[in-house]
Symmetry: C2
Subunit: 208 residues, 2 copies
């Protein structure tokens, strides 16, 4: 984990991801450039915000000439740390976990490799896309031996905190949490929450 003082603010990291994705669709031509105004418009932010965010990646671009698209993408990818394939474990191969295993190609395209899934009842679960489904008892050792730092958590809410504690004790530093609870975590561990049902429920309210 980085020293906290060196960290780019979390919302700025999201926006750097967003800029990188906006650039993907422009990067066809060699030597092509984009102005901060044009990129900011596509990303839906103000040009001052964009320039401030890009400053976190070190000096890049020349005043009046815009950004070289290829060079900017490379700098963003380096800053975000997705230049190498990042190994990930997935915990809980039920409905949602198994759906996410099905999406394994999507994760791989973005630089993440689901190395294994873990489940209380691995024999009941169908392996998908060749990802092995292992018993929970093997989780701690697997994480330690492979030096894995990131986990996708898809277990039911009532057991999520217990599994989270095990992940943190095993050396996991970042959790993408699909379980419908707010996890209690120690400092130095990052959690992002995705709750599909709550997102749907939220939209549902607005169309009554």
């Amino acid at each position: 984990m980085k020293d906290k003082k060196d960290l780019i603010p979390r919302k700025a990291v999201y926006r750097l991801s967003l800029y990188n994705r906006c650039l993907e669709h422009m990067a066809d031509k060699n030597g092509a450039t984009v102005s901060s105004e044009a990129l900011a418009k596509i990303a839906g932010v103000k040009p001052t915000q964009l320039r401030k965010d890009l400053a976190y990646c070190g000096p890049i671009g020349k005043r009046g000439l815009g950004y070289d698209i290829t060079a900017l993408r490379q700098r963003l990818t380096e800053t975000l740390g997705t230049t190498r394939l990042q190994p990930v474990v997935l915990i809980g191969a039920g409905n949602l976990g198994s759906a996410l295993l099905q999406y394994e190609e999507g994760f791989a395209k973005e630089g993440f490799e689901i190395t294994a899934a873990f489940d209380l009842h691995p024999k009941k679960r169908a392996s998908r896309k060749g990802v092995p489904i292992l018993p929970m008892a093997q989780l701690a050792k697997f994480i330690a031996v492979r030096g894995i730092k990131m986990a996708i958590l898809c277990v039911p809410g009532f057991t999520a905190q217990e599994v989270c504690n095990l992940l943190v004790a095993s050396g996991i530093q970042a959790i993408l949490n699909f379980s419908p609870i707010l996890l209690q975590i120690p400092p130095g561990v990052a959690v992002n929450n995705v709750n599909l049902a709550m997102e749907l429920e939220n939209l549902s309210y607005f169309i009554q």
Copy 2:
């Protein structure tokens, strides 16, 4: 769509969802109650915040007696509008779309029914869980005839805005957007964004 002046703020709606989920695990006993302090602690908010949010649902609970769990759950469900099964269409049955169709049971449990999926190449896609995969040309009529108000958007970024325009023109009022772009929408349409790759990339930065 509700009048804007009558709307509960979007973040409060999220918290009402959260309280409802916290209560699920308490609702075993008949006539059981919970104090605002206890519920706030589980939900990870301040008691004053909880009481302010619950006030949006009308008068409920008696001072000093706590909330009747069953009655509070019912009130929250009514307020959120998830008492009836809400029909949803899913657009784009590629990697992620097909994974989400696989999760159909999870959506159903939360009150949402994926009535059909639509794709540019429906014959190339395998139907899952009995949800039909139909050609895009049938989308507008299907939405109009069934009065569907909500869509899950899983198409590639480069075509997402075009599909979004078609959805809005067909009467869709709420979109759960998994496509990696910020959609431009007219007033009166609600969009929630879920970008799995960006969530992972964000976490990835913090563990470099």
